[in-house]
């Protein structure tokens, strides 16, 4: 499949360009990592020595070359403030953020599909109308605020989980998933509302098409008409949104980790920005870029899987 190959090549190029821009941006913006580490009272000699040890005395292109070659080998350099390789610093945190993202994504799909099918099936019913209104409200709640509401309601009110009581998946996977459900819900809810909206409209449209009538004429149950016939067709216009949502959810995870006290990439990203710990920031941005590009690639592939008309 040459088209898929083309997509993969363009994805790799995108990641390279993003890496390049990220590195350049951090070379241009004001602020000196050496000063950030030693403080403003440090002597010029000490600063110069530290810069040399950080490799900051070399020219930008030279530093970029060393950095990018390292990145290609999975080596993001050394953290300025933690004095340890960036890779070992973020290695344990990537799966956490990734899991949170995937968890939210799955929640979003389950929520939006089940509710959209229900609402489209019972079009104009009371529950349909309630869902439509609820949808508008939820769509306008940003994840961090949703996270606070969820903590308040499910955590402090219903005591379904202990706010701040994060359990590592190394310790207890079940309790880890139980705890993560709530931040994942906070991320998933506004996106589910949007996906619901798109999918609902699309399902109602598909339901008016001739093949839906054919499906009924063969004696299908209404449930099967929706799940076996309409859903796959109705998904096609929603797939693009799913790709964007997935990328957005990576960013959403980083924010929500703060609210729920999850030691993922989010926390280290924020402290690293404050400390001008560029290697860490660069590494995380590159990782996010990779995730975004990969999710776009997945969307392209998903299109081909779902819609046979885009193949051949």
């Amino acid at each position: 499949m040459p088209t898929v190959l083309k997509k993969i090549i363009s994805a790799i190029l995108t990641i390279l360009i993003v890496s390049c821009l990220v590195f350049l941006a951090f070379s241009i913006i004001p602020g000196d990592p050496a000063v950030a580490k030693l403080g403003t009272q440090a002597t010029p000699e000490k600063l110069a020595a530290l810069r040399a040890s950080m490799g900051l005395d070399k020219s930008v292109p030279e530093r970029f070359l060393t950095w990018i070659l390292g990145v290609l080998h999975g080596d993001f350099g050394k953290s300025y403030s933690y004095s340890m390789p960036v890779t070992s610093l973020i290695k344990d945190k990537i799966p956490l953020t990734l899991m949170l993202t995937v968890y939210s994504f799955i929640l979003m799909i389950v929520l939006s599909v089940v509710l959209a099918v229900y609402a489209a099936w019972h079009e104009n019913s009371l529950i349909d109308k309630i869902l439509q209104i609820l949808n508008q409200v939820i769509m306008s709640i940003p994840p961090f605020f949703g996270g606070i509401l969820i903590t308040l309601f499910f955590g402090l009110g219903l005591k379904l989980f202990t706010p701040g009581g994060y359990v590592s998946y190394h310790v207890n996977f079940g309790r880890f998933m139980g705890y993560m459900f709530f931040p994942a819900l906070a991320i998933a809810l506004p996106k589910s509302a949007m996906a619901f909206n798109l999918l609902y409209t699309s399902l109602v449209e598909e339901g008016k098409k001739d093949y839906a009538r054919t499906a009924f004429s063969r004696g299908n149950k209404t449930k099967d008409v929706f799940y076996k016939h309409l859903l796959k067709n109705a998904c096609i216009p929603v797939i693009t949104f799913l790709g964007m949502a997935l990328a957005d959810m990576v960013a959403g995870s980083i924010v929500i980790e703060q609210v729920f006290g999850i030691p993922g990439l989010g926390r280290i990203l924020l402290t690293s920005i404050q400390n001008r710990d560029y290697p860490v920031v660069e590494a995380i941005i590159v990782i996010i870029a990779v995730l975004v590009v990969v999710s776009n690639l997945l969307v392209d592939i998903l299109y081909r899987v779902v819609d046979p008309r885009t193949r051949s």
């Binding site: 093949y211 009538r213 054919t214 004429s217 063969r218 004696g219 796959k232 067709n233 046979p308």
Partner: protein
């Protein structure tokens, strides 16, 4: 004497989606016997498709009112529970539609769609279903049934898709086949082939066919009896040759006069 298959009496269909209800079918009566081909003609909007959909149990919108009787065997299609109706649909009553381009699900393989009625109504195994699907696909005149089986609708021509629709309708031999303008969207040569196919199916399986069309020459070549509809009313009915040779109603005369004559 052939058995009575379908008895429709005083069927009225009203739409209630406007402030003033709109009746689209008035006092529709129809009796069909086993193995009979009946034509239903009239211009678009005459109520012929609505009547057909009602007989197939496909008018279930909440803003519609249906009165009268549609008896298929000993089941009243209008009043029986949905489960009972479902057990008839695709099993004893099958339907083919006007638009072969859009009547098939665009994202499902042909084989899957042809096998659907068997999945719903029979206990056939996957291999049996596949064998039967390939069999009906070749019966409806599709060469290389294997390839069609693995194709998607967009990979087939209009005529082929209508054959697929007929194959799907015949996968379980129905007692009544409702063909709602099955040839309208097709080329003239393909139209004749589809009509021949319907004739063949009727002879071979003794399946009754309700053939809906505005093409009177097709109706004449296929049907034994004909009903002419206008504005929701059946204005004329009778044996095909009688209606064609001695039309009583002015409207029927006009319709017959509108058949293009081939002059050599």
């Amino acid at each position: 004497m052939a058995n009575n298959l379908l008895h429709v009496e005083d069927l009225n269909i009203e739409f209630h989606d406007h402030i003033i209800p709109e009746t689209v079918v008035y006092d529709f009566d129809l009796d069909m016997t086993e193995g009979e081909i009946v034509g239903l003609v009239g211009e678009s909007g005459s109520g012929k498709s609505m009547s057909a959909l009602a007989i197939a149990g496909l008018l279930s919108r909440h803003d519609m009112r249906k009165r009268g009787k549609i008896e298929f065997g000993d089941t009243d299609v209008l009043t029986c529970p949905r489960e009972k109706l479902r057990s008839l649909q695709g099993n004893e009553i099958s339907m083919i539609f006007q638009e072969p381009m859009t009547s098939l699900n665009p994202v499902k393989k042909i084989g899957w769609q042809v096998e659907e009625t068997m999945r719903i109504h029979t206990d056939k195994t996957a291999e049996e279903r596949r064998a039967r699907a390939l069999e009906v696909l070749s019966h409806v005149g599709l060469e290389d049934a294997e390839r069609v089986y693995n194709s998607y609708p967009h990979q087939l021509s209009g005529g082929m898709r209508q054959r697929v629709m007929i194959a799907a309708a015949m996968a379980i031999t129905p007692r009544l086949l409702i063909a709602d303008e099955p040839t309208t969207a097709l080329d003239v040569t393909v139209q004749a082939q589809i009509v021949d196919l319907l004739k063949h199916i009727n002879k071979k399986h003794n399946t009754s066919i309700l053939f809906i069309s505005h093409d009177l020459s097709l109706v004449r070549s296929l049907c034994s009896r004909v009903l002419v509809m206008k504005g929701g009313y059946v204005v004329e009915k009778g044996p095909v040759e009688e209606v064609f040779n001695h039309p009583v109603e002015e409207y029927t005369k006009k319709l017959i006069a509108a058949i293009p004559k081939v002059e050599l």
